[in-house]
Symmetry: C2
Subunit: 334 residues, 2 copies
């Protein structure tokens, strides 16, 4: 079998981990990398990744040019969180004939906030015979795909409740910052009001779940609250004083005919005890699933992107969601 | 949206539960039923199901005739466990232009034991533009599809261990008999040696898992042992004396390069304490998933068949496995 030729777009912490995984992966040839950061572009990818020897892939800051010059089949895209922000990047890739798998949180279900733009991307992808998919671990797995898969053994689903409790001290610095760790409560609340703080993708998870279960929700509520440190919390990167913010609690509730049918409860904070992912379906039969310690966000996001490569390559053209593609699974070529 | 027209083939305990579910289900029209048992054929389906009022579906003992006379899109097939035994039924359905979703355990991965027959059925299904799928809860979900889905968030999978512990006293009588409950140990062992006792589908689960993970196993071992009752066990249907068989332990191990990579451990017995399904993946990251109480076999098998109806209808023609189709999920039309 011929190797799949892949380009990596975005060399932040997740993108670098993806690039490392792609370089190691049998069955995949990493043939290009894009990042516009001046301290990355122009360098050999090995320098950016901190690898001991050259890989002879020069990081490009000009995606269009790289796409023209390099024969590839799939783009792994890990740049930004909002669909509107990344749309030009996705359009460029699609027009270059690249299948795209992306960690952009809103791309999990872009129809939710940007129906027209999603339709436009879908048309373009079909025209160019390529597939575009947003995925990851959250959104992308724990709070949407996995509970949907579980519902496959239910005759009826009355309601779904998903809890994800993450000890942020085990995660990368940028994530610890993103959840407000180290802030004063007033600052946290101000940023939440400005729409600048919170987990991105919670409502996309809810939309995917609802679509998969055939529900047209009549109301959705969402709340972002700070979690305050009881005692001093030290991470590898900084210290949170007692009383300051150590992370967030982000919840969402979806209603059908006035009844709570989806509850999503995400808690990410430094020092969280007993991290876990749990899924509770009330239906026929009832199901209670738990993942001990929870799925590790960074490792698993990288995995879901890499494992998705053959699936976007094989899928029908268009803008797809996790509902459309065959079951996720580890991609391993011996 | 137009309702999907469905025929039910086989009115044993599972088939009857499917038929009841189909009669209730919005989006589905049950338009026919087949069973050759003299005490069922010719009757109105409501009588066989024990429903209070007629449903005006006469149970037929002549599948070919029913398929000709009745316009339908999907056949739900719940007759027997072995692929070779049901092949003529499947061929008949496919030639009549019916998509098929079946609980036949060996149909989960028919390539394992009957490669030529599987290829023949695949060709026929393509010729007639229909899809054939084997599914269920075990095999079909707990020991194959679900662990594969979990592997989708792993960068590497070193090994997979799945345990399913079922308290058979909560299950139907035919299942209690199938696992040897009430037998003397010598009788149990004799039936095992004759290939007449054991869970059907364990090696199909292993084959599907291995195929999904890209592994070509070099050795497989399988063992069926009796579980003996410590104390008297009473079920709704019969009593097991202390020292007699209360059920079975059926295990399978798959090796890759001499290393155990798949371990399946199924214990089904009357009086099993702490029933649970658990999946342990050793990889990057490690994952430990558990389903409290385990997925209820009978309820969930019915669910997986009914939920699979729209998916076999929409899939590309051919003989498919759970690896080929979009993620399972509850089928609900409001």
């Amino acid at each position: 079998m011929k190797s799949i030729r892949v380009i990596q777009y975005g060399l932040g912490p997740i993108g670098c981990s993806v690039a490392r995984a792609l370089l190691e992966k049998k069955g995949i040839d990493l043939v290009g990398a894009v990042d516009i950061a001046p301290d990355k572009s122009g360098k050999d990818l090995s320098e950016v990744l901190g690898l001991p020897s050259r890989v002879d892939i020069r990081v490009s800051d000009d995606a269009a040019r790289l796409f023209r010059a390099t024969k590839a089949q799939v783009l792994v895209h890990t740049t930004r969180s909002f669909f509107r922000d990344v749309y030009p990047q996705l359009e460029q890739a699609v027009k270059a004939g690249l299948n795209v798998i992306s960690s952009t949180e809103e791309l999990l279900y872009p129809q939710l906030r940007s129906g027209q733009l999603a339709s436009k991307l879908d048309r373009l992808a079909r025209q160019h015979g390529v597939t575009v998919l947003g995925t990851g671990v959250n959104p992308g797995f724990v709070m949407d795909t996995l509970p949907l898969v579980m519902s496959g053994v239910c005759q009826k689903v009355g309601s779904v409740k998903i809890t994800r409790r993450v000890d942020a001290s085990t995660r990368r610095m940028s994530l610890q910052r993103k959840i407000g760790a180290g802030m004063k409560p007033a600052e946290f609340r101000k940023l939440v009001r400005a729409g600048k703080l919170g987990h991105i993708g919670l409502l996309e998870s809810m939309a995917l779940l609802a679509a998969g279960l055939g529900w047209t929700l009549d109301k959705i509520s969402e709340r972002i609250q700070p979690v305050l440190a009881d005692t001093v919390q030290k991470t590898r990167y900084f210290t949170v004083a007692a009383g300051d913010v150590c992370g967030l609690k982000h919840t969402g509730v979806g209603y059908l005919d006035g009844r709570k049918v989806i509850e999503l409860d995400l808690r990410m904070y430094v020092g969280a005890k007993d991290p876990v992912d749990s899924i509770e379906i009330r239906g026929v039969p009832n199901l209670r699933v738990s993942i001990e310690g929870g799925v590790h966000g960074d490792l698993a996001t990288v995995a879901s992107l890499v494992n998705g490569i053959p699936r976007v390559l094989e899928a029908e053209p268009g803008l797809k969601t996790m509902l459309d593609l065959p079951i996720p699974r580890a991609y391993q070529v011996l």
